[in-house]
C-alpha cells in the first residue's frame, strides 16, 4: 500500500459532500434548494463564486428541471452533479427514469427525508427506496466520512465504461447532513488521479445520433436486458473501485456490503444508512456480554448484492432487518428483499420498522429487539412505535 497523506478535519455531511464534488471537478451542476440539502447547495454556490470550482451552476426553477438540465449537460459530455431530498426526489422522478433508461452518468446526492403528507422534514428512507427500480446504482452512507468517500467513488462508478449508469448516494437527512464529524480528506492530486476527466459525449456533429428516441417492443426489451447486464456487471466494478479507493485513502471501504462480527454470529442485524452506527454500538455492547450477534451493512442497495449477502450469512440462525421505510401490504423493503435473497436457506428473517418520519432510534432499541429474538420471541414484523 502506498503512503497516504491524511488531512484530518471536521465537517457536516452536506459540506463534506460539497467538498468531494468540488474535488471531482464537475463541469455542470443544477440544484434546487430543499431542506435538508440546502446548505450543500449554498456551499457549492460559494465554491463557484469564489472560483474554487470552475463549473456552471444552473439555478433551475424546480427539481424536474434540475435533473433535466444535468441530463442535457451529461449527454453533451459533462461530469454533472445534483442533489435533492424527499418531495424534490419525487418531483424528479420522471427524469430519474429518463436518465436511468438512457444510462447517462449522473451523480445525485439524496439527503433522505420522509414524504408528505403530513409534512415532515425529518429522516426516513421512503423517498430513497421509492426509486429502486429506475436503473440507478444506489448507495447508502453510514456517516459523514462515508458520504464523502462514496461521492468520490460515485463519479468513478457512474462514468466507468463497463457501467454507464447514474448513481444516487443516499445519506440520512439532518442525521448526517447537519452533524459535524471527524473527516479525513484526500489531496486534490490524488482525487484527480482517481477520477480523471470525463472524455466521451453523445453530441458529435460529424456523426449525429438520435438520443432517446422511440423503440419498438423488440428493441425496447433488448435495451432493458442490456441495462440488467450492466447493473449486474457493476457489482464487480464497484468492488474493484472501492479496493482502489482503499489504497489511496488507507481506509477500508468494503464494496457492496460490510460485515461486522459476522464470522461466528448466530443472529445478525441488517441495516442501511446512518443508524448502522447505532446497530454497531448495540453489537459491541452485546458482544461484551458474550452474545453472538453481528451486523451486516448494505452499502449498495441497487444492484442488490444478493450473492454477497447469501455468502456472508452462511451459518447464521436468524437476521433482524431494520427498515426505515415501508411497502404497504408486503412489509419493510429491505426485509422483503432479504427474505427473497435467503429463500430456502433456513435462516429466520425478523422485520423491524422503525425511525419513520425521524422517530428516534438508539443503540438501546437495537439491543432490546435483539434480546427478544435471542429469548425466542418470534415475529414477522414489528413496528417500534412506542
Amino acid at each position: 500500500m502506498m503512503t497516504v497523506t491524511k488531512h484530518v478535519t471536521a465537517m457536516v455531511g452536506n459540506h463534506a459532500v460539497a467538498y468531494a464534488v468540488k474535488q471531482a471537478k464537475p463541469q455542470v451542476l443544477a440544484v434546487f434548494p430543499i431542506t435538508p440539502q440546502t446548505t450543500m447547495l449554498e456551499k457549492l454556490a460559494e465554491y463557484i463564486e469564489k472560483g474554487e470550482l470552475k463549473a456552471e451552476l444552473i439555478k433551475v426553477e424546480g427539481e424536474h428541471s434540475a435533473l433535466a438540465a444535468v441530463y442535457g449537460a451529461a449527454v453533451a459530455g459533462a461530469r454533472v452533479f445534483t442533489a435533492t431530498s424527499s418531495q424534490g426526489l419525487l418531483y424528479m422522478t420522471e427524469m430519474i427514469y429518463w436518465a436511468g433508461g438512457e444510462r447517462v452518468p449522473i451523480v445525485n446526492a439524496v439527503a433522505t427525508r420522509a414524504l408528505a403528507e403530513p409534512w415532515s422534514i425529518w429522516d426516513d428512507h421512503q423517498d430513497f427506496f421509492s426509486k429502486r427500480d429506475a436503473s440507478w446504482i444506489m448507495m447508502m452512507a453510514e456517516n459523514v466520512q462515508e458520504a464523502y468517500d462514496m461521492t468520490l467513488q460515485a463519479f468513478r462508478i457512474s462514468e466507468d465504461k463497463r457501467v454507464l449508469l447514474p448513481v444516487m448516494m443516499g445519506f440520512d437527512g439532518f442525521i448526517l447532513t447537519h452533524t459535524m464529524e471527524r473527516l479525513e480528506i484526500l489531496e486534490d492530486e490524488i482525487v484527480n488521479k482517481f477520477i480523471p476527466p470525463r472524455e466521451f459525449n453523445l453530441i458529435d456533429f460529424n456523426d449525429p445520433v438520435n438520443v432517446g428516441p422511440i423503440a419498438a417492443p423488440d428493441d425496447y426489451m433488448r435495451i432493458k436486458f442490456e441495462t440488467m447486464k450492466a447493473m449486474e456487471g457493476s457489482k464487480e466494478v464497484i468492488e474493484e473501485i472501492s479496493k482502489e479507493y482503499e489504497e489511496i485513502s488507507g481506509r477500508k471501504q468494503f464494496g457492496l456490503i460490510e460485515c461486522y462480527m459476522c464470522d461466528d454470529a448466530e443472529y445478525v442485524f441488517v441495516t442501511a444508512g446512518a443508524w448502522t452506527g447505532d446497530a454497531r454500538e448495540a453489537v459491541r455492547r452485546m458482544r461484551s456480554q458474550g452474545k453472538k450477534v453481528g451486523l451486516l451493512k448494505i452499502r449498495v442497495v441497487r444492484p442488490f448484492p444478493k450473492e454477497r449477502i447469501k455468502d456472508s450469512l452462511k451459518g447464521v440462525h436468524g437476521v433482524v432487518v431494520f427498515d426505515r421505510e415501508y411497502s404497504y401490504g408486503i412489509g419493510g423493503i429491505l426485509a422483503t428483499e432479504i427474505k427473497a435473497t435467503l429463500y430456502n436457506s433456513g435462516i429466520d428473517v425478523y422485520s423491524v420498522i422503525a425511525g419513520i418520519g425521524g422517530k428516534d432510534v438508539r443503540p438501546l432499541h437495537f439491543q432490546k429487539v435483539m434480546e427478544d429474538v435471542l429469548n425466542g420471541h418470534k415475529f414477522d414484523e414489528r413496528w417500534l412505535n412506542e
Partner: protein, 304 residues
C-alpha cells in the same frame, strides 16, 4: 433519375432549397413540420442540436433504427425540453463548441406542461433558441385541447368548441424581456427564415412561435396547409411580429394590418376548417372581437 428527365420546376426547387431534413419521415400528409425543420436547419447549419420533447416530432424523428435528421437530436420528456437544452448549451459552451441548441417543441410542451421550464430558462436567459411549432392542440395523442387551442375550436376534449381563449404565449414571452421574440408562419418562409437568422446571430434566450396548421387536427384538406397558414395572417388572427431587445415591430404583410379595413374577416379563416364548423354567428363575432382587441393591444406596442 438523370438530370434531363427532371422537370424544370423541380430542378429549380433543388437549386433554391437544398434538402436538410430527409424525406421518408413519419409525418402525416400535408403536415408542415418537415418543411419547417428543413427551413430551420438550412439557416442553423450542421452545428445544431435539436431538443425535442414529446410531440408529433418525436414520431417524425423516427425510432432507434434511424433518424431523418442530419443533426443530433436529444429527445426529452414532455416537461423538460427547456431545461435539457439549458444543460446542453452550458456544456457545449464549457467545451468551447460554437454550436446552436434549438428546442423544437409543440404548443402543449411549451404553453402547458413545460411552461415552468420555458419560463425558468427565459428568466435565466439561457443561450438557446426555442421554437414552438404551434398546431393548437395535443395532436400526437389525437387532437385534445391545449391552452393554445383557440376559442370555439372543436377538439376531442372540447366537443362543443373550446370556451376559453388561446393563451397568448408570444406576448408572455415578450414580458420576460428576453433578447428576441418573434412569431412566424409556414406560409411566409422568407419571413420565418429571416427571423431564424436574426435569432441565430444573437445570444441568450430567443423565442420563435410558429403557427403550424395541422390537416387532421384542424379538419381541412391536406392540400390546403399553406392556404390556411396564409389566411391566419391575412385575417389578423396570427400577427407576424418580432421583438428585438424590447423593440416591437410588425413584419411582412402584418405591417399593413394595423388598419382594420385591411384585415380579411376572420370568417374566411374559420370556414376552411372543420374544427370551427359548429361555431354560431354570435361566437364568430366574439372571435372577431378578440382579434380586433388584440390589434388594439398591438397598436400600443408599436407606438411605444
Amino acid at each position: 433519375m438523370s438530370e434531363e428527365l427532371i422537370p424544370e420546376y423541380i430542378k429549380q426547387k433543388k437549386v433554391i432549397r437544398q434538402q436538410y431534413f430527409f424525406r421518408g419521415n413519419a409525418a402525416c400528409p400535408g403536415c408542415p413540420i418537415p418543411k419547417e425543420l428543413d427551413l430551420l436547419l438550412e439557416v442553423m447549419g450542421k452545428k445544431t442540436v435539436l431538443v425535442v420533447p414529446a410531440s408529433c416530432s418525436t414520431v417524425i424523428m423516427g425510432d432507434i433504427k434511424g433518424s431523418p435528421s442530419p443533426v443530433p437530436v436529444v429527445h426529452s420528456a414532455f416537461a423538460s425540453a427547456a431545461a435539457i437544452a439549458s444543460g446542453l448549451s452550458r456544456q457545449l459552451r464549457m467545451r468551447g463548441e460554437d454550436a446552436k441548441v434549438v428546442v423544437w417543441a409543440g404548443d402543449g410542451a411549451t404553453g402547458d406542461i413545460g411552461f415552468a421550464a420555458v419560463s425558468g430558462a427565459a428568466e435565466r436567459n439561457e443561450d438557446i433558441i426555442y421554437v414552438c411549432y404551434d398546431n393548437e392542440a395535443f395532436m400526437n395523442t389525437g387532437i385534445q385541447r391545449s391552452s393554445l387551442t383557440p376559442f370555439g375550436a372543436w377538439t376531442t376534449t372540447t366537443p362543443a368548441g373550446k370556451r376559453e381563449f388561446k393563451k397568448p404565449v408570444p406576448f408572455i414571452m415578450m414580458e420576460h424581456k428576453i433578447p428576441y421574440v418573434a412569431t412566424a408562419s409556414i406560409a411566409y418562409p422568407f419571413d420565418y427564415q429571416a427571423k431564424l437568422r436574426k435569432a441565430k446571430d444573437m445570444q441568450g434566450f430567443r423565442y420563435i412561435h410558429l403557427l403550424s396548421p395541422c390537416p387532421p387536427g384542424w379538419r381541412f384538406d391536406s392540400s390546403l396547409t399553406i392556404e390556411v397558414a396564409k389566411l391566419a395572417v391575412e385575417t389578423g388572427v396570427w400577427p407576424l411580429f418580432e421583438v428585438v431587445n424590447g423593440e416591437f415591430s410588425l413584419t411582412g404583410i402584418s405591417k399593413t394590418l394595423l388598419d382594420k379595413s385591411k384585415r380579411k374577416p376572420v370568417e374566411e379563416y374559420l370556414k376552411l376548417q372543420g374544427r370551427f364548423a359548429k361555431m354560431s354567428e354570435e361566437e364568430i363575432k366574439v372571435f372577431q372581437e378578440a382579434v380586433d382587441s388584440m390589434w388594439e393591444y398591438i397598436k400600443d406596442l408599436v407606438k411605444r
